[in-house]
Protein backbone atom coordinates (compact mmCIF):
# COMPACT_ATOMS: atom_id res chain seq x y z
CA UNK A 1 0.00 0.00 0.00
CA UNK A 2 2.89 2.31 0.71
CA UNK A 3 4.58 1.13 -2.42
CA UNK A 4 1.91 1.43 -5.05
CA UNK A 5 4.48 2.58 -7.57
CA UNK A 6 7.33 0.15 -6.83
CA UNK A 7 8.80 0.69 -10.28
CA UNK A 8 9.32 4.42 -9.69
CA UNK A 9 12.87 4.73 -11.02
CA UNK A 10 12.79 7.48 -13.65
CA UNK A 11 16.36 8.72 -13.35
CA UNK A 12 17.90 5.29 -12.99
CA UNK A 13 16.01 4.25 -16.13
CA UNK A 14 17.13 7.40 -17.91
CA UNK A 15 20.78 6.78 -17.05
CA UNK A 16 20.47 3.12 -18.08
CA UNK A 17 19.03 4.28 -21.39
CA UNK A 18 21.78 6.86 -21.91
CA UNK A 19 24.46 4.28 -21.17
CA UNK A 20 23.55 2.53 -24.42
CA UNK A 21 24.78 5.49 -26.50
CA UNK A 22 28.31 6.06 -27.78
CA UNK A 23 28.92 9.27 -25.89
CA UNK A 24 28.32 7.53 -22.57
CA UNK A 25 31.91 6.27 -22.12
CA UNK A 26 33.23 9.76 -22.84
CA UNK A 27 30.86 11.17 -20.26
CA UNK A 28 31.91 8.57 -17.66
CA UNK A 29 35.57 9.36 -18.35
CA UNK A 30 34.88 13.04 -17.92
CA UNK A 31 33.17 12.45 -14.60
CA UNK A 32 35.89 10.09 -13.42
CA UNK A 33 38.31 13.01 -13.28
CA UNK A 34 36.56 13.98 -10.07
CA UNK A 35 37.36 12.17 -6.87
CA UNK A 36 34.90 9.36 -6.11
CA UNK A 37 33.09 9.41 -9.45
CA UNK A 38 32.75 6.35 -11.64
CA UNK A 39 29.94 4.68 -13.59
CA UNK A 40 28.66 2.92 -10.50
CA UNK A 41 28.51 6.22 -8.59
CA UNK A 42 26.51 7.86 -11.39
CA UNK A 43 23.97 5.06 -11.17
CA UNK A 44 23.96 5.35 -7.39
CA UNK A 45 23.24 9.08 -7.54
CA UNK A 46 20.41 8.48 -10.01
CA UNK A 47 18.92 5.81 -7.75
CA UNK A 48 19.08 7.98 -4.66
CA UNK A 49 17.55 10.90 -6.55
CA UNK A 50 14.68 8.58 -7.46
CA UNK A 51 14.38 7.54 -3.81
CA UNK A 52 14.32 11.13 -2.62
CA UNK A 53 11.60 12.09 -5.09
CA UNK A 54 9.70 8.94 -4.30
CA UNK A 55 9.71 9.59 -0.55
CA UNK A 56 8.90 13.29 -0.92
CA UNK A 57 5.97 12.76 -3.25
CA UNK A 58 4.46 9.73 -1.53
CA UNK A 59 4.74 11.09 1.99
CA UNK A 60 3.42 14.42 0.71
CA UNK A 61 0.46 12.52 -0.69
CA UNK A 62 -0.12 10.56 2.52
CA UNK A 63 0.43 13.66 4.61
CA UNK A 64 -2.26 15.41 2.58
CA UNK A 65 -4.62 12.44 2.85
CA UNK A 66 -4.31 12.69 6.65
CA UNK A 67 -3.82 16.45 6.91
CA UNK A 68 -6.55 17.68 4.59
CA UNK A 69 -9.53 16.24 6.49
CA UNK A 70 -7.82 17.19 9.74
CA UNK A 71 -7.38 20.77 8.54
CA UNK A 72 -10.99 20.95 7.36
CA UNK A 73 -12.16 19.68 10.75
CA UNK A 74 -9.89 22.12 12.58
CA UNK A 75 -11.59 24.92 10.66
CA UNK A 76 -15.19 23.75 10.57
CA UNK A 77 -15.41 22.85 14.27
CA UNK A 78 -14.27 26.34 15.29
CA UNK A 79 -16.65 28.71 17.00
CA UNK A 80 -19.41 30.02 14.70
CA UNK A 81 -18.43 27.61 11.94
CA UNK A 82 -20.60 25.12 10.11
CA UNK A 83 -19.74 22.15 12.34
CA UNK A 84 -19.09 24.09 15.53
CA UNK A 85 -18.07 21.71 18.31
CA UNK A 86 -15.93 23.02 21.12
CA UNK A 87 -14.80 19.61 22.39
CA UNK A 88 -13.73 18.33 18.97
CA UNK A 89 -12.08 21.62 18.16
CA UNK A 90 -10.14 21.65 21.44
CA UNK A 91 -8.98 18.05 21.11
CA UNK A 92 -7.96 18.34 17.47
CA UNK A 93 -6.11 21.54 18.11
CA UNK A 94 -4.34 20.03 21.13
CA UNK A 95 -3.12 16.94 19.28
CA UNK A 96 -2.07 18.93 16.25
CA UNK A 97 -0.01 21.21 18.44
CA UNK A 98 1.39 18.22 20.31
CA UNK A 99 2.66 16.56 17.13
CA UNK A 100 3.88 19.87 15.77
CA UNK A 101 5.99 20.48 18.86
CA UNK A 102 8.07 17.31 18.37
CA UNK A 103 11.18 17.97 16.26
CA UNK A 104 11.05 15.67 13.26
CA UNK A 105 14.32 13.91 13.99
CA UNK A 106 12.96 12.94 17.43
CA UNK A 107 9.54 11.94 16.09
CA UNK A 108 11.35 9.73 13.61
CA UNK A 109 12.97 7.70 16.42
CA UNK A 110 10.03 7.95 18.79
CA UNK A 111 7.61 6.19 16.44
CA UNK A 112 9.97 3.39 15.39
CA UNK A 113 7.74 0.73 17.06
CA UNK A 114 4.71 2.14 15.25
CA UNK A 115 6.59 2.24 11.94
CA UNK A 116 7.67 -1.39 12.23
CA UNK A 117 4.10 -2.34 13.20
CA UNK A 118 2.65 -0.61 10.16
CA UNK A 119 5.29 -2.11 7.88
CA UNK A 120 4.55 -5.57 9.29
CA UNK A 121 0.89 -5.20 8.42
CA UNK A 122 1.41 -3.62 5.04
CA UNK A 123 4.39 -5.54 3.68
CA UNK A 124 4.88 -8.43 6.08
CA UNK A 125 8.34 -7.18 7.03
CA UNK A 126 8.72 -5.34 10.32
CA UNK A 127 11.39 -2.83 9.31
CA UNK A 128 11.75 0.87 10.04
CA UNK A 129 14.39 1.77 7.44
CA UNK A 130 14.11 1.91 3.68
CA UNK A 131 12.24 4.11 1.30
CA UNK A 132 8.90 2.50 2.06
CA UNK A 133 9.23 2.47 5.84
CA UNK A 134 10.35 6.12 5.80
CA UNK A 135 6.97 7.17 4.48
CA UNK A 136 5.33 6.36 7.85
CA UNK A 137 7.23 8.92 9.98
CA UNK A 138 7.38 11.38 7.10
CA UNK A 139 3.60 11.34 6.61
CA UNK A 140 2.93 11.61 10.32
CA UNK A 141 5.49 14.36 10.70
CA UNK A 142 4.08 16.44 7.88
CA UNK A 143 0.33 15.82 8.37
CA UNK A 144 -0.17 18.26 11.28
CA UNK A 145 1.79 20.89 9.37
CA UNK A 146 -0.47 20.40 6.36
CA UNK A 147 -3.55 20.45 8.62
CA UNK A 148 -2.60 23.82 10.08
CA UNK A 149 -1.83 25.21 6.64
CA UNK A 150 -5.21 24.03 5.29
CA UNK A 151 -6.92 25.56 8.33
CA UNK A 152 -5.15 28.85 7.67
CA UNK A 153 -6.05 28.77 4.00
CA UNK A 154 -9.71 28.27 4.93
CA UNK A 155 -9.57 31.09 7.49
CA UNK A 156 -8.79 33.42 4.60
CA UNK A 157 -12.19 32.80 3.00
CA UNK A 158 -14.72 35.58 3.50
CA UNK A 159 -17.40 34.44 5.92
CA UNK A 160 -19.97 35.99 3.56
CA UNK A 161 -19.40 33.15 1.08
CA UNK A 162 -20.28 30.54 3.68
CA UNK A 163 -23.27 32.60 4.70
CA UNK A 164 -24.41 32.79 1.08
CA UNK A 165 -24.05 29.03 0.68
CA UNK A 166 -26.00 28.43 3.88
CA UNK A 167 -28.73 30.75 2.71
CA UNK A 168 -28.99 28.66 -0.47
CA UNK A 169 -29.65 25.56 1.58
CA UNK A 170 -26.28 23.88 1.24
CA UNK A 171 -25.40 20.99 3.57
CA UNK A 172 -22.11 21.25 5.50
CA UNK A 173 -20.53 18.68 3.19
CA UNK A 174 -21.63 20.64 0.12
CA UNK A 175 -20.20 23.82 1.61
CA UNK A 176 -16.86 22.07 2.13
CA UNK A 177 -16.77 20.52 -1.34
CA UNK A 178 -18.20 23.28 -3.46
CA UNK A 179 -17.32 26.46 -1.58
CA UNK A 180 -14.50 26.07 0.95
CA UNK A 181 -12.06 23.88 -0.97
CA UNK A 182 -12.40 25.51 -4.42
CA UNK A 183 -12.21 29.01 -2.94
CA UNK A 184 -9.15 28.18 -0.84
CA UNK A 185 -7.46 26.16 -3.62
CA UNK A 186 -4.83 28.73 -4.65
CA UNK A 187 -3.70 29.19 -1.03
CA UNK A 188 -3.86 25.44 -0.40
CA UNK A 189 -1.64 24.69 -3.41
CA UNK A 190 0.78 27.37 -2.29
CA UNK A 191 0.89 25.87 1.20
CA UNK A 192 1.39 22.37 -0.18
CA UNK A 193 4.31 23.64 -2.26
CA UNK A 194 5.94 25.05 0.85
CA UNK A 195 5.18 21.82 2.71
CA UNK A 196 6.68 19.68 -0.01
CA UNK A 197 9.88 21.71 0.15
CA UNK A 198 10.00 21.35 3.94
CA UNK A 199 9.37 17.67 3.43
CA UNK A 200 12.40 17.48 1.19
CA UNK A 201 14.41 18.45 4.29
CA UNK A 202 12.76 15.72 6.35
CA UNK A 203 13.53 13.20 3.59
CA UNK A 204 17.21 14.07 3.87
CA UNK A 205 17.01 13.27 7.61
CA UNK A 206 15.51 9.83 7.09
CA UNK A 207 18.16 9.31 4.41
CA UNK A 208 20.89 10.17 6.85
CA UNK A 209 19.75 7.43 9.25
CA UNK A 210 19.82 4.91 6.42
CA UNK A 211 16.54 4.94 4.54
CA UNK A 212 18.07 5.83 1.19
CA UNK A 213 17.84 8.99 -0.80
CA UNK A 214 20.32 11.79 -1.25
CA UNK A 215 20.62 12.20 2.53
CA UNK A 216 22.25 8.80 2.72
CA UNK A 217 24.79 9.76 0.05
CA UNK A 218 25.53 12.88 2.07
CA UNK A 219 26.25 10.77 5.12
CA UNK A 220 28.70 8.51 3.26
CA UNK A 221 30.48 11.14 1.20
CA UNK A 222 30.19 14.01 3.63
CA UNK A 223 30.41 12.50 7.08
CA UNK A 224 32.49 9.32 6.60
CA UNK A 225 34.79 10.23 3.74
CA UNK A 226 34.64 13.69 2.44
CA UNK A 227 34.22 13.82 -1.36
CA UNK A 228 33.48 17.40 -2.42
CA UNK A 229 32.45 16.53 -6.00
CA UNK A 230 29.77 14.13 -4.80
CA UNK A 231 28.55 16.48 -2.07
CA UNK A 232 28.25 19.31 -4.56
CA UNK A 233 26.40 17.12 -7.05
CA UNK A 234 23.95 16.07 -4.31
CA UNK A 235 23.45 19.71 -3.42
CA UNK A 236 22.78 20.75 -7.02
CA UNK A 237 20.27 17.94 -7.45
CA UNK A 238 18.47 18.97 -4.25
CA UNK A 239 18.33 22.58 -5.40
CA UNK A 240 16.93 21.44 -8.75
CA UNK A 241 14.28 19.35 -6.99
CA UNK A 242 13.20 22.30 -4.84
CA UNK A 243 13.09 24.66 -7.81
CA UNK A 244 11.04 22.16 -9.78
CA UNK A 245 8.55 21.75 -6.94
CA UNK A 246 8.21 25.52 -6.65
CA UNK A 247 7.84 25.91 -10.41
CA UNK A 248 5.11 23.27 -10.66
CA UNK A 249 3.39 24.73 -7.60
CA UNK A 250 3.38 28.23 -9.07
CA UNK A 251 2.04 26.91 -12.34
CA UNK A 252 -0.88 25.15 -10.66
CA UNK A 253 -1.64 28.22 -8.49
CA UNK A 254 -1.78 30.33 -11.63
CA UNK A 255 -4.26 27.93 -13.18
CA UNK A 256 -6.61 27.86 -10.19
CA UNK A 257 -6.51 31.59 -9.42
CA UNK A 258 -9.18 33.74 -11.00
CA UNK A 259 -8.68 37.03 -9.22
Amino acid sequence: MFDFIPSFKPFETLIRHLSGYDFWSNFVNLCAQFDGFNEKMIFKIAQETDNTIYMTVLSGLWGTIIGLPLGILLYTTRKNQILECQIASGLLSFFTNLLRSIPFIILLFWIIPFTTFIMLIMTGQGVFLGRQAAIVPLSIGVAPLIARMIENALLDIQTGLIEAARSMGATPLQIIRKVLLPEAMPVIINSLTITLITLNGYVAMVGAIGSGGLGELARYYGLYSYKPAIMNTVLIILILIVFTIQFIGNMIVKRVTHH
Binding site: Q158, L161, G169, Q174, K178, H259
Partner: protein, 343 residues
Protein backbone atom coordinates in the same frame (compact mmCIF):
# COMPACT_ATOMS: atom_id res chain seq x y z
CA UNK B 1 -45.73 35.42 3.44
CA UNK B 2 -43.28 36.41 6.16
CA UNK B 3 -44.43 36.92 9.73
CA UNK B 4 -42.11 37.71 12.56
CA UNK B 5 -43.74 37.33 15.97
CA UNK B 6 -42.12 38.72 19.10
CA UNK B 7 -38.62 38.23 17.76
CA UNK B 8 -35.86 39.05 20.22
CA UNK B 9 -32.16 38.46 19.82
CA UNK B 10 -29.62 38.88 22.56
CA UNK B 11 -25.89 38.51 22.01
CA UNK B 12 -23.54 37.93 24.88
CA UNK B 13 -20.39 39.95 24.46
CA UNK B 14 -17.77 39.91 27.22
CA UNK B 15 -20.44 38.46 29.51
CA UNK B 16 -22.61 41.53 28.89
CA UNK B 17 -25.91 41.00 27.11
CA UNK B 18 -26.46 43.09 24.00
CA UNK B 19 -30.08 43.39 22.97
CA UNK B 20 -29.85 43.42 19.18
CA UNK B 21 -33.57 42.93 18.56
CA UNK B 22 -36.38 43.65 20.99
CA UNK B 23 -39.80 42.13 20.49
CA UNK B 24 -40.07 42.67 16.75
CA UNK B 25 -43.41 42.07 15.05
CA UNK B 26 -43.52 42.29 11.30
CA UNK B 27 -45.82 41.08 8.58
CA UNK B 28 -44.80 41.03 4.94
CA UNK B 29 -47.77 40.18 2.70
CA UNK B 30 -47.15 37.96 -0.33
CA UNK B 31 -46.03 39.77 -3.45
CA UNK B 32 -44.99 42.94 -1.68
CA UNK B 33 -41.69 44.72 -1.53
CA UNK B 34 -41.16 45.50 2.11
CA UNK B 35 -38.35 47.73 3.28
CA UNK B 36 -36.76 47.93 6.69
CA UNK B 37 -34.73 51.06 7.11
CA UNK B 38 -32.33 51.80 9.92
CA UNK B 39 -28.97 53.29 10.68
CA UNK B 40 -25.96 51.04 10.99
CA UNK B 41 -26.05 49.17 14.26
CA UNK B 42 -29.83 49.45 14.51
CA UNK B 43 -30.20 45.69 14.21
CA UNK B 44 -31.46 45.48 10.65
CA UNK B 45 -28.82 42.96 9.53
CA UNK B 46 -29.64 40.73 12.48
CA UNK B 47 -33.32 41.08 11.66
CA UNK B 48 -33.01 39.92 8.06
CA UNK B 49 -30.72 37.06 9.10
CA UNK B 50 -33.43 35.86 11.46
CA UNK B 51 -35.81 35.34 8.55
CA UNK B 52 -33.76 32.45 7.13
CA UNK B 53 -32.26 31.57 10.51
CA UNK B 54 -28.69 32.36 9.54
CA UNK B 55 -29.06 33.96 12.95
CA UNK B 56 -31.32 32.14 15.39
CA UNK B 57 -33.56 34.52 17.39
CA UNK B 58 -33.36 34.16 21.16
CA UNK B 59 -37.14 34.03 21.28
CA UNK B 60 -40.09 34.45 18.98
CA UNK B 61 -41.51 32.82 15.88
CA UNK B 62 -40.42 33.17 12.27
CA UNK B 63 -43.28 32.15 10.03
CA UNK B 64 -42.53 31.86 6.33
CA UNK B 65 -45.26 30.61 4.02
CA UNK B 66 -47.44 29.59 6.99
CA UNK B 67 -44.71 27.51 8.59
CA UNK B 68 -42.88 28.31 11.80
CA UNK B 69 -39.32 27.62 10.64
CA UNK B 70 -37.78 27.93 14.12
CA UNK B 71 -39.21 24.51 14.97
CA UNK B 72 -37.80 22.74 11.90
CA UNK B 73 -35.10 20.07 12.11
CA UNK B 74 -31.75 20.92 10.54
CA UNK B 75 -32.56 18.88 7.46
CA UNK B 76 -35.95 20.48 6.97
CA UNK B 77 -34.44 23.91 7.53
CA UNK B 78 -31.95 23.28 4.71
CA UNK B 79 -34.88 22.34 2.45
CA UNK B 80 -36.82 25.44 3.46
CA UNK B 81 -33.88 27.77 2.90
CA UNK B 82 -33.87 26.75 -0.76
CA UNK B 83 -37.13 28.67 -1.13
CA UNK B 84 -35.86 31.72 0.78
CA UNK B 85 -33.13 33.33 -1.25
CA UNK B 86 -30.80 36.07 -0.19
CA UNK B 87 -28.57 38.65 -1.82
CA UNK B 88 -25.84 40.58 -0.05
CA UNK B 89 -24.11 43.91 0.06
CA UNK B 90 -20.81 42.39 -1.04
CA UNK B 91 -22.42 39.98 -3.53
CA UNK B 92 -20.65 36.90 -2.11
CA UNK B 93 -19.92 35.28 -5.46
CA UNK B 94 -17.42 32.45 -5.62
CA UNK B 95 -14.23 33.72 -7.25
CA UNK B 96 -13.35 30.19 -8.31
CA UNK B 97 -16.45 29.88 -10.47
CA UNK B 98 -17.54 31.60 -13.65
CA UNK B 99 -20.81 33.54 -13.87
CA UNK B 100 -22.53 30.46 -15.25
CA UNK B 101 -21.12 28.19 -12.54
CA UNK B 102 -22.05 30.67 -9.81
CA UNK B 103 -25.66 30.71 -10.93
CA UNK B 104 -25.61 26.91 -11.23
CA UNK B 105 -24.39 26.49 -7.64
CA UNK B 106 -27.78 26.35 -5.86
CA UNK B 107 -28.99 23.95 -8.55
CA UNK B 108 -26.02 21.69 -7.84
CA UNK B 109 -26.92 21.81 -4.16
CA UNK B 110 -30.35 20.30 -4.90
CA UNK B 111 -28.72 17.68 -7.11
CA UNK B 112 -30.27 18.80 -10.40
CA UNK B 113 -28.74 16.91 -13.37
CA UNK B 114 -26.44 18.93 -15.65
CA UNK B 115 -28.85 18.64 -18.58
CA UNK B 116 -31.49 20.55 -16.63
CA UNK B 117 -29.06 23.07 -15.12
CA UNK B 118 -27.92 24.51 -18.46
CA UNK B 119 -31.31 25.70 -19.79
CA UNK B 120 -32.29 27.02 -16.37
CA UNK B 121 -29.08 29.04 -16.00
CA UNK B 122 -29.39 30.39 -19.54
CA UNK B 123 -32.90 31.53 -18.77
CA UNK B 124 -31.68 33.32 -15.62
CA UNK B 125 -28.78 34.91 -17.50
CA UNK B 126 -31.30 36.34 -19.92
CA UNK B 127 -33.52 37.61 -17.10
CA UNK B 128 -30.67 39.64 -15.60
CA UNK B 129 -29.24 40.61 -18.98
CA UNK B 130 -25.84 38.94 -18.74
CA UNK B 131 -26.01 36.36 -21.55
CA UNK B 132 -22.69 37.46 -22.99
CA UNK B 133 -20.88 37.25 -19.64
CA UNK B 134 -21.62 33.61 -18.85
CA UNK B 135 -18.02 32.46 -19.08
CA UNK B 136 -16.45 35.37 -17.19
CA UNK B 137 -15.04 35.17 -13.67
CA UNK B 138 -16.52 37.57 -11.06
CA UNK B 139 -13.18 39.37 -10.73
CA UNK B 140 -13.77 40.79 -14.22
CA UNK B 141 -17.27 42.11 -13.52
CA UNK B 142 -18.42 45.52 -12.31
CA UNK B 143 -20.32 45.85 -9.03
CA UNK B 144 -23.67 46.09 -10.77
CA UNK B 145 -22.95 43.03 -12.89
CA UNK B 146 -21.87 41.09 -9.81
CA UNK B 147 -25.14 41.91 -8.07
CA UNK B 148 -27.03 40.81 -11.20
CA UNK B 149 -25.25 37.46 -11.04
CA UNK B 150 -26.12 37.24 -7.35
CA UNK B 151 -29.77 37.96 -8.16
CA UNK B 152 -29.80 35.31 -10.89
CA UNK B 153 -28.23 32.86 -8.44
CA UNK B 154 -30.83 33.76 -5.82
CA UNK B 155 -33.65 33.11 -8.28
CA UNK B 156 -32.31 29.73 -9.45
CA UNK B 157 -34.44 27.67 -7.08
CA UNK B 158 -37.64 29.59 -7.86
CA UNK B 159 -37.84 31.02 -4.35
CA UNK B 160 -40.96 32.46 -2.79
CA UNK B 161 -39.07 35.07 -0.84
CA UNK B 162 -36.03 37.17 -1.64
CA UNK B 163 -34.10 38.79 1.20
CA UNK B 164 -31.92 41.74 0.25
CA UNK B 165 -29.23 42.62 2.77
CA UNK B 166 -28.12 46.16 1.82
CA UNK B 167 -28.05 44.90 -1.76
CA UNK B 168 -27.32 48.29 -3.30
CA UNK B 169 -25.19 49.88 -0.60
CA UNK B 170 -21.92 49.09 -2.35
CA UNK B 171 -23.10 50.45 -5.70
CA UNK B 172 -23.05 53.89 -7.26
CA UNK B 173 -26.40 55.75 -7.62
CA UNK B 174 -26.93 54.90 -11.26
CA UNK B 175 -26.20 51.21 -10.79
CA UNK B 176 -28.36 51.23 -7.67
CA UNK B 177 -31.25 52.48 -9.76
CA UNK B 178 -30.84 49.78 -12.39
CA UNK B 179 -30.56 47.03 -9.76
CA UNK B 180 -33.67 48.33 -8.00
CA UNK B 181 -35.50 48.37 -11.32
CA UNK B 182 -34.49 44.77 -11.85
CA UNK B 183 -35.78 43.85 -8.39
CA UNK B 184 -39.08 45.60 -9.04
CA UNK B 185 -39.27 43.86 -12.39
CA UNK B 186 -38.85 40.37 -10.93
CA UNK B 187 -41.23 41.24 -8.12
CA UNK B 188 -43.91 41.96 -10.70
CA UNK B 189 -42.98 39.23 -13.21
CA UNK B 190 -42.52 36.40 -10.74
CA UNK B 191 -44.75 37.58 -7.90
CA UNK B 192 -41.76 37.30 -5.60
CA UNK B 193 -42.07 38.67 -2.07
CA UNK B 194 -39.09 40.87 -1.29
CA UNK B 195 -37.86 41.93 2.13
CA UNK B 196 -35.03 44.39 1.94
CA UNK B 197 -33.03 46.25 4.51
CA UNK B 198 -31.24 49.47 3.78
CA UNK B 199 -30.01 52.68 5.28
CA UNK B 200 -30.98 54.70 2.23
CA UNK B 201 -34.41 56.31 2.08
CA UNK B 202 -34.01 56.58 -1.70
CA UNK B 203 -34.14 52.80 -2.01
CA UNK B 204 -37.36 52.67 -0.01
CA UNK B 205 -38.79 55.51 -2.03
CA UNK B 206 -38.00 53.88 -5.33
CA UNK B 207 -39.35 50.36 -4.91
CA UNK B 208 -41.00 49.63 -1.58
CA UNK B 209 -44.72 49.19 -0.95
CA UNK B 210 -44.38 49.24 2.80
CA UNK B 211 -41.63 50.28 5.12
CA UNK B 212 -40.69 49.73 8.74
CA UNK B 213 -38.22 51.87 10.60
CA UNK B 214 -35.86 50.14 13.02
CA UNK B 215 -33.92 51.94 15.69
CA UNK B 216 -31.87 50.41 18.49
CA UNK B 217 -33.38 46.98 17.95
CA UNK B 218 -36.96 48.11 17.92
CA UNK B 219 -39.45 48.79 15.15
CA UNK B 220 -40.50 52.36 15.80
CA UNK B 221 -42.79 52.92 12.86
CA UNK B 222 -44.37 50.82 10.15
CA UNK B 223 -46.65 51.88 7.35
CA UNK B 224 -47.10 52.31 3.61
CA UNK B 225 -44.37 54.31 1.92
CA UNK B 226 -46.78 57.14 1.08
CA UNK B 227 -47.97 57.45 4.65
CA UNK B 228 -44.44 57.36 6.08
CA UNK B 229 -43.25 60.08 3.73
CA UNK B 230 -46.26 62.32 4.16
CA UNK B 231 -46.80 61.88 7.89
CA UNK B 232 -43.70 60.55 9.59
CA UNK B 233 -44.47 60.18 13.29
CA UNK B 234 -41.26 59.02 14.87
CA UNK B 235 -38.22 61.24 15.16
CA UNK B 236 -35.94 58.64 13.54
CA UNK B 237 -38.29 58.41 10.58
CA UNK B 238 -38.31 62.17 10.24
CA UNK B 239 -34.53 62.17 10.22
CA UNK B 240 -34.48 59.65 7.40
CA UNK B 241 -36.92 61.70 5.36
CA UNK B 242 -34.95 64.86 6.05
CA UNK B 243 -31.95 63.08 4.61
CA UNK B 244 -33.73 62.70 1.27
CA UNK B 245 -35.52 66.05 1.44
CA UNK B 246 -32.93 68.43 2.58
CA UNK B 247 -32.74 72.10 1.74
CA UNK B 248 -30.10 74.29 3.28
CA UNK B 249 -30.54 78.04 3.38
CA UNK B 250 -27.98 79.44 0.90
CA UNK B 251 -25.00 81.13 2.57
CA UNK B 252 -25.72 84.65 1.29
CA UNK B 253 -29.31 84.45 2.57
CA UNK B 254 -28.08 83.13 5.89
CA UNK B 255 -25.79 86.13 6.28
CA UNK B 256 -28.46 88.75 5.71
CA UNK B 257 -31.13 86.79 7.62
CA UNK B 258 -32.62 88.81 10.46
CA UNK B 259 -34.55 87.07 13.22
CA UNK B 260 -36.98 89.95 13.77
CA UNK B 261 -39.27 91.62 11.21
CA UNK B 262 -38.02 95.01 9.95
CA UNK B 263 -39.23 97.48 7.38
CA UNK B 264 -38.23 96.49 3.88
CA UNK B 265 -37.52 92.88 4.84
CA UNK B 266 -39.69 90.01 3.73
CA UNK B 267 -40.20 86.68 5.48
CA UNK B 268 -38.16 83.66 4.38
CA UNK B 269 -40.36 80.60 4.63
CA UNK B 270 -39.78 76.87 4.63
CA UNK B 271 -42.87 75.19 3.26
CA UNK B 272 -43.48 71.47 3.70
CA UNK B 273 -45.96 69.82 1.40
CA UNK B 274 -47.46 66.43 2.02
CA UNK B 275 -50.29 64.52 0.43
CA UNK B 276 -53.35 66.59 -0.48
CA UNK B 277 -51.72 69.99 -0.20
CA UNK B 278 -49.61 69.33 -3.27
CA UNK B 279 -52.61 68.82 -5.48
CA UNK B 280 -54.02 72.33 -5.03
CA UNK B 281 -52.14 75.29 -6.52
CA UNK B 282 -51.94 77.02 -3.12
CA UNK B 283 -49.00 79.27 -3.88
CA UNK B 284 -50.53 80.95 -6.90
CA UNK B 285 -53.90 81.15 -5.18
CA UNK B 286 -52.26 82.91 -2.23
CA UNK B 287 -50.49 85.28 -4.62
CA UNK B 288 -53.72 86.28 -6.31
CA UNK B 289 -55.83 86.55 -3.19
CA UNK B 290 -53.42 88.43 -0.91
CA UNK B 291 -51.50 90.46 -3.45
CA UNK B 292 -48.11 88.99 -2.63
CA UNK B 293 -45.26 87.53 -4.70
CA UNK B 294 -43.46 84.32 -4.02
CA UNK B 295 -39.81 84.19 -4.85
CA UNK B 296 -38.86 80.51 -4.77
CA UNK B 297 -35.23 80.12 -3.75
CA UNK B 298 -34.98 76.35 -3.88
CA UNK B 299 -37.41 73.50 -3.89
CA UNK B 300 -37.52 69.76 -3.89
CA UNK B 301 -40.65 67.89 -4.76
CA UNK B 302 -40.86 64.12 -4.80
CA UNK B 303 -43.24 61.31 -5.44
CA UNK B 304 -43.32 58.02 -3.55
CA UNK B 305 -45.96 55.43 -2.88
CA UNK B 306 -48.55 57.40 -4.86
CA UNK B 307 -48.12 60.53 -2.80
CA UNK B 308 -46.47 63.79 -3.69
CA UNK B 309 -44.51 65.59 -1.05
CA UNK B 310 -41.80 68.14 -0.91
CA UNK B 311 -40.06 71.04 0.68
CA UNK B 312 -39.52 74.59 -0.54
CA UNK B 313 -37.62 77.69 0.50
CA UNK B 314 -39.41 80.83 -0.54
CA UNK B 315 -39.27 84.55 0.06
CA UNK B 316 -42.74 86.06 0.41
CA UNK B 317 -42.82 89.58 -0.92
CA UNK B 318 -45.67 91.88 0.14
CA UNK B 319 -46.74 94.10 3.00
CA UNK B 320 -46.71 92.52 6.44
CA UNK B 321 -50.49 92.28 6.82
CA UNK B 322 -50.82 90.49 3.48
CA UNK B 323 -47.99 88.08 4.16
CA UNK B 324 -49.49 87.23 7.56
CA UNK B 325 -52.79 86.40 5.89
CA UNK B 326 -51.12 84.45 3.13
CA UNK B 327 -49.23 82.33 5.66
CA UNK B 328 -52.48 81.56 7.46
CA UNK B 329 -54.05 80.63 4.14
CA UNK B 330 -51.23 78.20 3.37
CA UNK B 331 -51.51 76.66 6.81
CA UNK B 332 -55.22 76.02 6.41
CA UNK B 333 -54.31 74.19 3.21
CA UNK B 334 -52.20 71.62 5.10
CA UNK B 335 -48.86 73.17 4.31
CA UNK B 336 -46.44 73.32 7.20
CA UNK B 337 -45.03 76.84 7.23
CA UNK B 338 -41.93 77.74 9.13
CA UNK B 339 -40.74 81.35 9.23
CA UNK B 340 -36.98 81.12 9.18
CA UNK B 341 -36.38 84.86 9.47
CA UNK B 342 -36.52 88.00 7.39
CA UNK B 343 -34.43 89.00 4.43
Amino acid sequence: MIKLENISKTFIHNKQPIYALKDINLHVPAGQIFGVIGKSGAGKSTLIRCVNLLERPTSGKVIVDNQDITTLSNRMLIQTRRKISMIFQHFNLLSSRTVFENIALPLEFIGLPKKKITPKVNQLLELVGLQDKWNVYPANLSGGQKQRVAIARALANDPKVLLCDEATSALDPETTRSILELLKDINQKLGLTILLITHEMDVVKQICDQVAVISQGELVEQSTVGEIFSHPKNEVTQQFIQSTLHLDIPDDYLQKLSPIPQDGLYPLLRLKFAGVSVDTPCLSQAAKEFNIDNNIISAQMDYAGGIKFGIMLTEMIGNSQNTQNAIKFLQTNNITVEVLGYV
